[in-house]
Symmetry: C2
Subunit: 286 residues, 2 copies
């Protein structure tokens, strides 16, 4: 594939492409690439770049079962310059070898306008991710610089799956939760069609409230598996006419094995989820 | 200075040291190191690492007038691996040459627990910053991993200086603003003595509300200068028995000049602020 075509392809990742891929693969799985040198197979530690080697093998083994990969930037930044190089190699590998796959920088960034623009440049222009996760706390001018990038997606934290989500996200403001205010406000922002939202799977019934406000947007759902969320529950309340769901699984899949066959074990775990997803898609007429 | 001593010195940055430095330098200035290749002096672009060269000259020219430097990570990430190298060189230069200076990674991170731990390792252990800015949206378990580092400071976003602060931070929850809830809740968290807070200078009267909840903690105040905040107003409402303020200025200082003498121009701008600060300290009996 020549680079002109690659560039052309990359800038046209759209909702339509994503939906088409979900239907083709019968999967709305997103795999979290959160490599930790203390957890990856020991034999990889002698590689020049153990993190990239780990990711590469995982990607090659699972790419047919997943529509998205989501590296959490923290797991790369923890290793400084070396980690950033591993992140760059990982996204370049994905964009070159599997350009149809949706790539999410799970960075949870957000700052005043000129600074958010720099973050958007870092992840959309420099690294060429299709999407980035963003924190809503600083409001409109901290998020719009991301939304200004057409054919890129801004995945806003709404309701997260961790314990601390009770502290603020679930507080009531004029009879609605803060996370509902985030959803409602964000729809007024420039290029709101480029938004997706993070909604934790441990709050499946909260999805009723979420879908009442954002019936059409895609939701990125972490927390299925280790964190206790149920895939069936999430789909029951979250699925829409475009499917509209990306279900993330990280640790369950990427640490399924710890030996030479680790990628095979990961593939088997991903396969289990994909099989369930194919059933759910079929039950819902897709 | 040998590395054992350096290490020993670095892990003992405390509030007492910071206050001592403020009194010695008669300054509570923090300089934002937010380098943009489109804005730095053109002659630096032929350097091998223009960003580090820009920072180095700024630091050497202003270190006697400031008690803290605060690189915004976005301005480094925008340049990928090269940018991260510049950030690493900048913090290493500060820690080696000016170890008494308080260093803040303005990163606005925050994620679920195991991921926040990775961010804390990235900025506290790997890069050896004294402090990091953190977003409160995900609550207790997204912030405590930072607080767990003793002799390191976690600077929580409370009330920011941008327009979008109206969207959520100033919303009312049970008769108090969300930013007040953030302050109140955070005091219950493990190692809350390691907290500082971001409070925008454009809201000087809001400082009354802030000081009612956190009378003793340090506040990091952006927004003086370009963003319109008044130094006198901020000090009137924000100063406490430990001084308790770090006033950040970025663009006003770092882009004061654009030629060979840019660092001298920056020094003059910093000098103006430091002179005002010395007066304010004197008026307040420090």
């Amino acid at each position: 594939m020549n680079s002109v075509f690659l560039h052309h392809y990359l800038i046209f990742m759209t909702t339509e492409t994503l939906v088409k891929n979900i239907k083709a693969k019968k999967s709305f799985l997103c795999i979290g690439l959160d490599p930790d040198l203390n957890k990856i197979p020991k034999y990889l530690l002698s590689e020049e770049d153990p993190i990239f080697e780990f990711n590469k093998q995982l990607i090659d083994a699972t790419h047919h079962l997943t529509v998205a990969y989501k590296p959490k930037t923290a797991f790369y930044e923890a290793y400084g310059v070396k980690g950033w190089i591993s992140l760059e190699k990982t996204i370049n590998y994905l964009n070159l070898k599997y350009p149809e796959i949706f790539t999410i920088a799970d960075a949870k960034r957000g700052d005043i306008g000129n600074t958010s623009t720099k973050y958007a440049e870092a992840f959309f222009t420099d690294l060429k991710f299709d999407a980035i996760t963003v924190s809503p706390y600083m409001g409109i001018d901290s998020v719009e610089p991301f939304l200004n990038f057409e054919d890129k997606f801004t995945i806003l934290l709404a309701l997260t799956s961790n314990i601390g989500s009770h502290n603020f996200q679930e507080k009531m403001i004029n009879n609605t939760h803060l996370f509902e205010q985030v959803l409602t406000e964000s729809l007024k922002w420039n290029n709101a069609h480029n938004l997706m939202y993070v909604v934790g799977a441990t709050k499946a019934t909260a999805l009723i409230k979420v879908r009442a406000i954002v019936p059409n947007h895609f939701l990125l759902i972490p927390g299925v598996g280790v964190q206790g969320g149920s895939l069936e529950e999430v789909c029951k309340y979250g699925i829409n006419q475009n499917i509209g769901l990306l279900i993330n699984s990280s640790r369950d899949i990427i640490y399924a094995g710890s030996d030479l066959d680790f990628a095979q074990k990961s593939m088997e775990k991903a396969q289990l989820l994909q099989t369930k997803m194919a059933e759910i898609l079929s039950q819902n007429g897709f």
